[in-house]
Amino acid sequence: MHEKLRIIIVERDRDRAHLIVDALREAGDHQITVIGEESGLARRIADIRPDLVLIDIANPSRDMLEELALASGPMERAVAMFVDRSDQGLTRAAIEAGVSAYVVDGLRPERIRPILDAAIARFHMFSRMRNELAATKAALEERKVIDRAKGLIMRAKGIGEDQAYALLRKAAMDQGKRLPDVAQAIVTAAEILG
């Protein structure tokens, strides 16, 4: 029977941190600590002496972890960058998913793999969520611009909403442009001329 692994997750967002913890629990019984505060990160990690640290690849504090790989005295265990020694394919998958992992020197790859697989799956989910959110936000923004343009046309020409929308759509088709782009042009022009 293996000893429990000590895992640290560096993540400021509590909801995201919970989701990662849940995923890792399914991958095995480990002792998981979440660090949400970036101040004194290196020292806190050194105190906990983890086997594995997981951090978002885009977290600016990552460079602090690079330092840990070096600052090991004779009595300390080196925290090596995972990508140094282990499975390159797994590392690539992790980087592409947006998570970077630091493991203690000498930890066997077969012990890391299930944890990493779980983390990778979770980070893929995050990036899907992020993309969906961005798409929804963009759609909402476009909706708002179209509504404003419609309003402007309705006032200027004294016509109803459906007619204003039909005019807008016709202009877009005639010019071979996207509807939101034509709407934006109308809003911008109105701002300058108004």
């Binding site: 101040s39 600016p60 504090s61 460079d63 330092e67 790989a69 990508v83 140094d84 970077s100």
Partner: protein, 385 residues
């Protein structure tokens, strides 16, 4: 004309200018390239992006390709420097409290500042952007020589967090690239004490890095990219373009700070404390002056020399591995025909020039800028210490 799209990585810093200018002012387009500039949040992230081919080239700390060649630090691939993007631009500063304790001290005197820092009688924690950086090398060269009694420890702090770390008392001082030193002055009341150039006036700060072998696999692309970046560096170095450059870099998608903070680095006129005078920091930063973009193999050897001593590696071996990472041969191949002045040798003794000097080059003469270490030491790669 269809343009060849290349993904490039950068960190939001003033010295990312040659890459940003290459794309924004059409130097890349002139070479049939379109640059997809991707900002990274940390040096390790940027290195991983290079390692795993998410970008083909990146602005990189000059020390990183050398460290990799010596198997130090993280990363999986060998990297190489096709050219130097910028010289110097680092600044060392301290917290408001220590700044006050230093009393009356002129900016830019490493010996006097070292004595004064040692005289404080306390240990210092100094923030640097990355363990393998010119910032680390300059501090490690300067402080033990100028202040042998001073005990100091280096801490890695992401540059945008430097001001916050200073305020929170996590560090007592920092060595960082602009605009983050000026940012710490503005936000945390820091006091700037010494520029990197005052420690070594010709320290290569950032390089254009690729995975080893990329430029030889794709010589045409590499040539186009190097020419575009070289011309952009010359544009960025032209004084008349400074205002435009500051405005361009200040944009939200790049540095996202006020243009006047950027202007300080570009002019070398720094505000040393929030109340204080504006001073002129000589040779503060350069993108082009004096063959600045030429990757001298002696620069790589100096870096290797420092790393080898710190990490206990064999010197001669370290020098040779390091030299191979600074591709002066590719610079000659691709930028010589474009009109870059080429020195006759790819190595020089570092620290020997008390003033700028005109020397004969391959076809034209070159002006080599003043090249001095603060303590007058000379590093001759042909005859290492």
């Amino acid at each position: 004309m269809t343009q060849d799209r290349l993904a490039l990585g950068f960190i939001p810093l003033v010295d990312a200018a040659p890459l940003i200018v290459a794309e924004e002012l059409g130097f890349a387009a002139e070479e049939g390239l379109s640059l997809n500039l991707r900002a990274a949040a940390s040096w390790s992230m940027l290195r991983d992006m290079l390692d795993f081919g998410q970008v083909v080239a990146a602005q990189m700390l000059s020390v990183v390709p050398v460290a990799r060649a010596l198997a130090l630090g993280g990363g999986t691939q060998q990297l190489e420097a096709l050219m130097v993007l910028s010289m110097n631009g680092q600044v060392f500063g301290v917290s408001a409290e220590i700044g006050q304790a230093l009393g009356d001290l002129p900016f830019g005197d490493p010996l006097a500042a070292g004595k004064r820092l040692a005289g404080l009688g306390r240990d210092l924690r100094i923030g640097v952007p990355f363990p393998f950086s010119m910032h680390t090398e300059l501090l490690d060269y300067w402080l033990p020589r100028a202040a042998p009694d001073l005990r100091f420890a280096l801490r890695t702090v992401p540059p945008p967090r430097m001001a916050e770390a200073l305020k929170a008392g996590e560090i007592d001082g920092f060595c960082v690239g602009e605009p983050w030193g000026s940012h710490a002055v503005a936000l945390a009341g820091a006091r700037l004490v010494v520029s990197g150039a005052a420690i070594w006036s010709q320290a290569p700060e950032k390089v254009l890095a690729t995975r080893a072998g990329w430029a030889e696999e794709q010589p045409d692309r590499a040539g186009r990219l190097m020419r575009a970046v070289w011309r952009a560096g010359r544009w960025a170095a032209t004084p008349q373009n400074r205002t435009t450059l500051a405005e361009l870099l200040a944009r939200p998608e790049y540095l996202n700070v006020a243009p006047d903070l950027i202007d300080r680095a570009l002019t070398g006129r720094l505000l040393v404390n929030s109340a204080g005078p504006e001073i002129e920091a000589p040779q503060f930063q350069s993108f082009d002056q004096g063959a600045a973009s030429f990757p001298w193999r002696s620069q790589a050897a100096w870096i290797a020399d420092r790393l080898a001593q710190r990490y206990g590696l064999r010197l001669a071996d370290a020098h040779n591995r390091a030299r191979a990472t600074f591709r002066s041969d590719l610079y000659r191949l691709h930028l010589g025909p474009a009109g870059a002045a080429l020195p006759r040798s790819s190595e020089k003794a570092e620290g020997v020039l008390n003033q700028s000097e005109t020397v004969p080059g391959v076809t034209t003469t070159l002006i080599l800028p003043r090249n001095r270490f603060f303590d007058g030491q000379i590093f001759d790669p042909a005859d290492p210490l």
